[in-house]
């Protein structure tokens, strides 16, 4: 694969074709914040905290670093007034859900985000999808999935699958940037216990 040269924060960076800006930056030791990214998973582009400025057709444009493929001579900035403003607002929106999540608090400090900017929301989940995608892509169990759309979007466990698969796995727990996942899982477990005890386990 041919080497692509691009510029990130004024620094000449080499990358392979097919890499994303995020990967190229990481290789060069430049850090870009992420919330929904995981190296074992397909790029997702949902949290938008990795938003950076890339010069496209000599105009600066905000793009998601975790998705944007490197191009020769691409000029990227990972901090600017606009980027910081965007990240700050994204954090404030997320802090309405998970005000106590350490991952968010650290970033909030960095970008001056106010955790009380918006009224608190009922759900902790910030919909990074790490649990859903990890379960599907890495574990191939599909025990947890998304439900509904828009502002009603949630994550949900499939009781029949979770009751068999989850106890011995729980690998998604530490991935969760908030503590929402455990709560949801425990809740589903609790709700499902009576039903499960009547259901004979299938032999596979």
């Amino acid at each position: 694969m041919s080497q692509i040269l691009l510029k990130i924060d004024g620094k000449e960076v080499g990358a392979r074709e097919g890499m994303t800006i995020l990967e190229a930056a990481e290789r060069a030791g430049i850090s870009i914040p992420t919330l929904c990214h995981h190296e074992k998973l397909e790029p997702y582009g949902a949290c938008r905290i990795c938003t950076v400025e890339a010069e496209i057709d000599s105009r600066p444009k905000l793009v998601a670093a975790c998705l944007y493929p490197v191009e020769p001579n691409l000029v990227v900035r990972t901090r600017s007034e606009k980027i910081d403003k965007t990240r700050k607002m994204i954090l404030q929106l997320l802090l309405a859900h998970a005000p106590d999540a350490p991952a968010l608090q650290d970033l909030a400090k960095e970008y001056g985000a106010d955790k009380d900017r918006f009224e608190k929301e009922a759900s902790f989940c910030i919909h990074c999808g790490l649990c859903v995608r990890y379960c599907a892509e890495v574990k191939k169990k599909n025990a947890v999935g998304f439900v509904d759309r828009g502002t009603r979007r949630e994550i949900g466990f499939i009781p029949e699958i979770s009751s068999k698969e989850c106890w011995n796995c729980k690998e998604c727990f530490p991935l969760c940037p908030t503590s929402a996942l455990q709560a949801a899982y425990v809740l589903t477990e609790a709700l499902m216990t009576p039903a499960i005890s009547f259901k004979p386990e299938k032999e596979e």
Binding site: G45, I49, A64, P69, T86, M89, L93, T151
Partner: protein, 642 residues
């Protein structure tokens, strides 16, 4: 029908069809589009058939159920050929008279004609009615003349001749070149140049490529694609096949909303018929070009109108958009090059091939060529579908074609571009419609919804309405859209409820900026437009809501009160009897009073108070006047006094 294997055979077939048709035979075309269907055209059709049978006229009179004629306000519509007598708002009971008078005696029934609202003249022919006269119906015009379920009808008006020309007399490069030269831009939203999209796909690596019709028309208040697909499905198939030839694709999809059952039905029939005669399938017209089309029904998600989300849905998944840093023209459906164009765009293609790019580009503005179909709806006299040359002013569309605002009300704004668009105020009515012109005004062309709003429409509520729509229709994947819209909707809802606070507008603008810059797809990036455009042109309305807790349009329920003017109330008991919450007190000869604590503000009293009394008032931003004392409530009728 036998399979046709060459352009010559197609012409033979066409001649055969035409030779069997007697141009002097009476033919009643009846609009059977969804809107006329809802107004009862199916019953009219049955009645006509009955009459033909009863009178033994099947040799003399044909009935043709056609697609939408466009003038939905006046449906059901019939046109009697060859005289082209046009009757509106037909009911089954009118049918016998139409037969005895117009069909047999060739007499025109005055009462069913269109009456010009200004001159009060009766108008016989469609082409003389102002609604039609000022249009240029190149794409939409055939709708009223053909039965969409009959390929013969389409062939009779010259259908598939563009395909024959493309396949036999042009190379695929020439087809592409012609479309590029025409400057046709996508009629579905962004106005991306169609030819460039095709070119990108054509040159993209890969053996398998797709062409797709986007018929997931989700803009509330827009139904031109539906009417085209329902009324002239072959024109879209023809355009799609030509596009496939230019791009080098052999598989096409029509993604159509399941909410449009008639469109699904008609396009499915059209595909089957085209396959039977060999206009789809293997070796089309002997050219060696193979092309097949499948219909895929959308299950109800506005976001699927976005190209990458539509392709995700075609793959059988939840319609979440994908980042388009690599265009779908290169990496689309199943990661293969895919050309997606909207219904109207495809329907323009046969015209361009038949008549040439120069002919097509002769009308329009500098950067927007051809015509555009709009659905002219809302507070407008002539609701319907109108096709106009690009560059016509909003004023001409609204007043010359649309007949202005009904009920003596004052025009306030025209909303274009659906939930991604914006509201354009009165002082910009001379704006010429075109992609860039509308974008510059803070709105956009979108798919062609044009919703007229009058003085009774609250612009803050309009912004809230669209945000409400979008929070429901967003896929919910990315934060700026899902969470940003959630907060914007909350703030706007509060403002319409009188709970707006200082600083709300700044926060809304900030949220708009982030959603506009950082959202994953076009839905999120354009979602702030309804708010931003209303703020730009109607800031005073926002301020009245926030600072004075007043809704200037008297529309926001929480900010208005209903009040009966004691000087005007005639104690007629109508509102009192009909009030669902029994909030009106009074009686015969006793002036009616609304008990504010009981009032749910349903507006029934306002609606039912006879206009000659006009006693029920809406008030906002001021206290409700105290009810007059019990003793003064006896009504003294002025007429009796005299």
């Amino acid at each position: 029908m036998p399979r046709i294997n060459s352009p010559a055979e197609l012409e033979e077939l066409r001649k055969g069809i035409l030779s069997k048709r007697d141009p002097n035979k009476s033919c009643i075309t009846l609009c059977s589009g969804s809107a006329c269907h809802a107004s009862g055209s199916a019953d009219v059709a049955l009645r006509i058939e009955e009459e033909i049978k009863k009178q033994g006229l099947s040799a003399e009179v044909d009935l043709r159920r056609t697609g939408c004629h466009g003038f939905c306000e006046r449906g059901p519509i019939i046109v009697i050929h060859p005289e082209e007598i046009c009757y509106f708002q037909i009911e089954p009971k009118d049918v016998p008279e139409i037969f005895s008078q117009t069909i047999k005696e060739k007499k025109v029934l005055e009462r069913l004609l269109y009456t010009d609202p200004i001159t009060h003249n009766k108008i016989i022919h469609e082409s003389e009615i102002p609604f039609y006269k000022n249009q240029e119906r190149l794409v939409f015009g055939s709708n009223g003349n053909i039965d969409p379920k009959s390929i013969d009808d389409y062939l009779a008006i010259g259908g598939y001749s563009a395909l024959a020309k493309a396949l036999s007399r042009m190379t695929s490069e020439q087809v592409l070149k012609e479309v590029k030269k025409s400057n046709l831009r996508g009629r579905g939203g962004g106005g991306f140049p169609t030819g460039r999209k095709w070119e990108e796909s054509r040159h993209a690596p890969g053996e398998i490529k797709y062409v797709i019709v986007n018929a997931d028309e989700g803009d509330p208040g827009a139904y031109m694609d539906r009417s085209l697909l329902e009324g002239n499905p072959h024109s879209i198939l023809e355009g799609l096949t030509i596009g496939a030839f230019a791009v080098g694709s052999h598989e096409g999809y029509i993604y159509v909303r399941q909410e449009y059952p008639l469109a699904v039905e008609n396009v499915t029939i059209a595909i089957k018929m085209a396959e039977e005669v060999g206009l789809l399938g293997k070796n089309i017209l002997g050219s060696g070009f193979d092309f097949n089309v499948k219909v895929h029904q959308g299950a109800g998600a506005f976001v699927c109108g976005e190209s990458s989300a539509l392709m995700t849905a075609l793959e059988g998944r939840a319609g979440e958009p994908r980042p388009k840093y690599i265009h779908t023209a290169v990496k689309g459906l199943w990661d293969r090059p895919s050309v997606l164009n909207n219904v109207e765009t495809w329907a323009n293609v046969p015209l361009i091939i038949n008549k040439g790019a120069d002919w097509f580009a002769r009308c329009g503005t500098e950067r927007s060529k051809g015509t555009k179909i709009f659905s002219l709806v809302g507070k407008i006299t002539n609701t319907g579908l109108v096709e106009v040359p690009m560059g016509m002013t909003l004023r001409d569309i609204i007043y010359k074609i649309g007949g202005g605002i009904p009920g003596g009300k004052r025009f306030k704004a025209v909303q274009t571009g659906g939930p991604s668009g914006g509201c354009i105020p009165e002082d910009l009515l001379d704006l010429e419609v075109g992609f860039d012109e509308l974008t510059q005004a803070g709105s956009m062309m979108g798919s062609g919804g044009m919703i007229i709003m009058d003085e009774d429409t609250c612009m803050v509520d309009v912004a809230r309405y669209f945000l409400d729509f979008l929070t429901d229709e967003s896929c919910g994947k990315c934060v700026p859209c899902r969470e940003g819209m959630r907060q914007m909707l909350k703030i706007l809802t509060n403002i319409t409820k009188g709970k707006g606070r200082e600083g709300d507008l700044v926060l809304l603008e900030e949220l708009s900026g982030v959603a506009g810059d950082a959202s994953l797809c076009a839905l999120g990036r354009s979602a702030p437009n309804p708010f931003l455009s209303t703020l730009r042109y109607f800031r005073d309305e926002y301020e009245a809501h926030i600072q004075e807790k007043r809704c200037p349009a008297l529309s926001c329920k929480e900010l208005i009160a209903y009040h009966i003017d004691p000087d005007k109330c005639q104690a007629c008991m109508i509102c009192l009897r009909k009030c669902p919450s029994e909030a009106i007190s009074g009686g015969k000869n006793r002036i009616h009073i609304i008990e504010q604590e009981k009032c749910t503000k349903c507006g029934t009293c306002f609606e039912l108070c006879p206009p000659r009394f006009g006693a029920v008032k809406k008030i906002s931003g001021e206290p409700v006047p105290f009810p007059i004392p019990e003793g003064e409530r006896i009504l003294i009728r002025k007429s009796k006094e005299k």
